[in-house]
Symmetry: C2
Subunit: 347 residues, 2 copies
Amino acid sequence: MRTTLRDVAAAAGVSAMTVSKVLHGTGTNVRVSQEKADQIRKTASELQYQPNDLARSLRNKRTMTVGVVFRQLTRLNQQNPYFPQLLNGVMAALFEQNYTLALCPKLADLSNNGAVSDGRFDGILWCRPDFTDESIQGLSRSSVPVVMMHTPADLVPGLSTFCADNETAMRRVVQHLVGLGHERVAFVIDEQNEAAAEAKARSEAFLAAMSDFGMQGEICVWNDDATGCVEAYVGTDRPHTAIATFSEAFAGIILRRCVDLGIQVPADLSVVGFDSSTFCETTQPRLTAVNQPVEKMAYEATLHLLNLIQANVEGLPKALPSSSIYDCGLDIRSSTAPPALIVESVS
Amino acid sequence: MRTTLRDVAAAAGVSAMTVSKVLHGTGTNVRVSQEKADQIRKTASELQYQPNDLARSLRNKRTMTVGVVFRQLTRLNQQNPYFPQLLNGVMAALFEQNYTLALCPKLADLSNNGAVSDGRFDGILWCRPDFTDESIQGLSRSSVPVVMMHTPADLVPGLSTFCADNETAMRRVVQHLVGLGHERVAFVIDEQNEAAAEAKARSEAFLAAMSDFGMQGEICVWNDDATGCVEAYVGTDRPHTAIATFSEAFAGIILRRCVDLGIQVPADLSVVGFDSSTFCETTQPRLTAVNQPVEKMAYEATLHLLNLIQANVEGLPKALPSSSIYDCGLDIRSSTAPPALIVESVS
DNA sequence: TTGAAAGCGTTACCAT
DNA sequence: ATGGTAACGCTTTCAA
């Protein structure tokens, strides 16, 4: 049996609330004599009293814990630096304010229908942007603050969003590729990300940018092991001379695929990734990629969440949701070059 | 005001406990008619009822959350793969059993004196092996299961430990270096890890192994930016021809330091790291290192913890603590070589 | 098959 | 300056 506040109170010959005041000192209105306070602390220590945080949280409606729901439970590894970057930002913001970080894949289960607020968390950072209409509803009804990462503005009513400027980013990609002389360009999405909110945003931005240059882009969805590479690019009559991808990690997979299939990058095919981390320096060839400041975004999103929580606690009225858009530059490396030869001109 | 179980009960015209049974169905002994059950579920959904997990956990004494206390709050990055590896193992074990992972630097605060069990966690994985006598006491008194990583057996009475076989590992390091012809070898610990439980273990193992070869090893503690390199290794009259380090990350720092100072590795100095991850492939030169299976250890330690939790829940008697020792091979790469020239023979 | 009441451990309010 | 009482939201006896 664990010792409770009451045990301490009994042992010290005072009431439970006196002990509570002394040990957790919320009270301004309640004063305890120094003498008694010392006695209580001594007794608590002798009895090895451990306050039950669950009970405290239940009363205080405060857990000092933030839940992070991530898109996909991937392993942390060099091939996919996105998740570590995200966590770095979140941890930096959380830990300096003594919050606990909870990783809960269970919440990400969409069968939950966005049932997100169950008292365990003071706030939620939602990094899983593929949702259904149902989960969108659930999210916007949440009784605890929710902040969305990688979500275009106004997709989820009432919630603040932190998102890349996909329009400008894709425009830069297209500009770069077209500037190199490419005319047949595809935007390739890995199956895993097909349902992501940003997949739509980037696809549309890509098509629009291509169209502005008087060209027609193509959207492809490929299997997670880039089977599409095999299907479409064996032989010399390749449908595109350049492809942009939804993620850095997927671009990496494609590069390896190209090696397998004897496709020369960038001579035969130019490849552009999304998210430009140190990983891009390690690929063969080094990967040209859109530079999304994931860590910064995560840090600022978390900070924003903490502010919302604070406002919530202080009973302030709900602030209006904000949309933060992050400009993303294009880091040009070695995986893009002019098309080697015009196999067939577009007339 | 959030809707509670009672609101649902009132709306459905039944009692609170009936609702509880229907929605969380613990009861074998209590039966509710299908009709009423459906009605209750319908009402709950209409009212957007969200069970409060805090209250449930308080009653059930179960949070389905495991706290991970780590040694040092470092950023996740390529230069220090230890933490990602650890998390991979922990997550794999936890998430497949639907547990939530909590990262709580607050608990790591030693001022806590090992006050570790506050109801929020069903169990704790302690990856912060530098502790005081006081915290050791606190840990072994914990009312929830605690499993120790990186802790030599029998250091904390009553707790299961998962630890590298430091003795064999250091012996292998010494054997390799001595085999190459080195006679003046140091084991270098970064300040940050000076208090780690394994620092002592590895130091002693190193000295013993050296002694077995009839040589006297030296233990050095260096500043985290390897200032020791500057102090001791500028000029040609270097005290050692080879150094082994406490960690892979620190070895990386030393390698960069050597570049700054014009020390050739491995010609002037051989360097051996601890923990052999992909990082060792990226250093210049590639780093010879002890191969500690961090992810595997973390996975198995977490699994063990979950078993302890399960036993705890089922009211089984406390199992005897176990000590798991992991054999660590030496991955020989390019940072070790025979000493270039004997500057001064040892008589 | 169902309900009432008592608690889990803590804290807030209102007395004294 | 201190104590009694109620409540946070849920579940578990026990009784009907």
